[in-house]
Symmetry: C2
Subunit: 254 residues, 2 copies
């Protein structure tokens, strides 16, 4: 039985809570949160506190809090023992206070309040300072995920950057597509199957092979027509830069 | 029974062929293709020809050929009757020769050679010059898809542009993510569940609500660190432009 305390009450904290509470090999001892109202959703099922001095003993303390708060909270934790981990993609392990044992427990996924995540498929990127702590995190992560991976702080920094392209920027492309639809009285729903298939393809194919479209084919006529259709300067710039980048990728020297 | 001739032997032609051949209310009379070798994959199951003068009689002629060839082929077709449609997102219906009845039969999906497509979910965007031809195309499309939509040439032009953002540019973001991974010895596989979930979210949520990440949170420190990590000028430009566009979307005036 691994005993854990979860620090934080946001999306990541809530999703980790839901994943761990379903395991009978893990005991969630307590949830800590600064915001008492946010603790309400946990307190029917588990001990909660907003007071650092009342944090209970556990094997692992999981900080699922905002990046900006990690360094400060890790310094304030009045712990004698236990392993303290954060869940951030972009903060080095060594940013945590060295008053305690430390590590990283980073779930590589996008979490929203009202969407259930299949945790078994979420890559859990873990890091620790020594073998014993690594094994503990590996056991903890294996309880909820089939994809536990050792990723050091440098790699994690790059992985987080890659995730910005794969997730944040893709989603922004969906928004731009929606805006083009709305400006022309086309329901955005019509694009949803295309978006689903675009991502489904990547589960089997490398992105280089999955690319289609006018920029890939270097179809200059269509590219020019599309640029003329876009009214907004920002959208023109995005269309132009990404088309050039694709043309360049497929051997057209610009 | 609707009788059709498919003109073309590429991905769209092959996927349409597979979808129609499975229907017992549709008869594929013939496949026409300029390239005899490409016709081989059809000829065991259906009559094929490379000779315009040997094209058989049918109710609908579906041109699944490259955009550049549509106007020319439509002029050369030696037809007395039948409805001629193309399958392109970006070519107006009126580009087809007015020697014949004409229309558009545009499946809004990304087709690859070795990937099966669930046609029932593919939006079929149809257009015709009159009610009788529209009804014929609607019946034809309803045989293979549950999502048949009337889209005129202007809307289709915009829809095609929106699809470039939703599909082509998203896929390019996956490629950039893969490059960041490879430069840092991280297997790209680790990002696949994130890509899948990014698109899955959009099946329920509007893109505006699904957005996450440093640009959405206006986290300037992380944005600067990411820009410093990117070595390639093109990637820096893409990161910077898309981050600004996201910041702008969420109320940060730049």
């Amino acid at each position: 039985m691994i005993r854990i305390v979860i620090l934080g009450t946001g999306n990541v904290a809530k999703h980790l809570f839901d994943a761990f509470i379903a395991q009978n090999t893990i005991e969630i001892v307590q949830v800590y949160g600064r915001n008492r109202r946010a603790l309400d959703k946990f307190k029917a099922r588990i001990d909660v506190t907003s007071d650092f001095s009342k944090i209970k003993e556990a094997d692992v303390y999981i900080m699922a809090i905002s990046d900006d708060a990690i360094v400060d909270v890790s310094k304030k934790l009045p712990l004698q023992k236990g392993l303290v981990v954060h869940t951030s993609g972009s903060i080095p392990m060594t940013s945590l206070s060295n008053n305690t044992r430390r590590g990283v427990f980073y779930p590589l996924q996008t979490f929203s309040a009202n969407r259930k995540v299949v945790f078994k498929e979420v890559p859990m990127c873990i890091e620790a300072e020594n073998r014993v702590d690594y094994d503990l995190l590996h056991e903890l992560a294996s309880n909820i995920s089939n994809a536990v991976i050792q990723i050091d702080s440098d790699q994690r920094k790059s992985l987080h950057l890659a995730a910005v392209f794969a997730n944040n920027f893709s989603n922004h492309m969906y928004l731009k597509a929606q805006e083009v639809c709305e400006q022309n009285s086309i329901p955005f729903d019509i694009l949803r199957p295309l978006i689903k298939e675009t991502a489904a393809k990547i589960q089997d194919l490398p992105p280089l092979d999955a690319q289609t479209g006018p920029a890939k084919r270097n179809n200059l006529g269509t590219i020019e027509k599309h640029l003329a259709q876009l009214e907004n300067e920002n959208e023109k710039k995005i269309y132009s830069l990404l088309s050039k980048s694709i043309q360049n990728t497929y051997g057209k020297k610009l």
